[in-house]
Amino acid sequence: MPKLTEQPIDSQQLLCAVQTTQAGAVILFLGTVREFTNQRQTLALDYEAFAPMAIAEMERIEAEAREKWVLAKIETIHRLGHLTLGEISVGVAVSAPHRDAAFAAGQYIIDELKRRVPIWKKENWSDGSQEWVHP
């Protein structure tokens, strides 16, 4: 189930939420705030969302994944607000009877999330400048 949160993402809670004896495979993806991008140093990121649409789009992505692969449970969560180095910005957990489905679905969900879900990040560079990230 998709969620947005202003609080730190708890990876253990994500894993617990998708755990089931129906599944032989669990995949967890975590996106974290990385220090360097093309030699430029990040201090922090600010995330903003169009929340109702972000949730609706994440629900559509989860439903698409369930159509493509046999899955047990899915959790998708994105952090909003101010994140410092190393913090988790996004978490995707998928359980499935078989690992190929878990990997493929996990990658599909994070790829589509980054492509479609209305969330934006602003870089806080080490030189003091700020910059919206636009792919």
Partner: protein, 92 residues
């Protein structure tokens, strides 16, 4: 005969991220001229660019949604339906 003929549709537009910062506006009730056919996203976009010329720097990169669904320029905006306008997404 038709004394209540409508010449404008008021569209509730939310702006996000750089679109919000360029306009200093998070939400605007935009008066979109009605030209004898349903209002579309193209009409909303035109009215928005006229009202906020600084959005031109995002130009054709701007994305639109009606309600919580992506829309293209031909998507009809029914009276009362909210619109969102934003730059390419960068979550994750």
């Amino acid at each position: 005969m038709n004394s209540t003929m409508i010449h404008e549709q008021v569209v509730d537009v939310q702006l996000f991220a750089l679109a919000r910062e360029l306009t200093n506006v998070a939400r605007v009730l935009l008066e979109v001229p009605v030209e004898g056919r349903p209002v579309t996203i193209a009409d909303v976009q035109h009215a928005l660019m006229t009202r906020f010329p600084r959005l031109a720097s995002l130009g054709s990169k701007l994305l639109f949604a009606v309600g919580t669904q992506y829309a293209d320029e031909n998507t009809v905006v029914q009276p009362g339906e909210p619109v969102a306008c934003f730059p390419p997404v960068s979550g994750g």
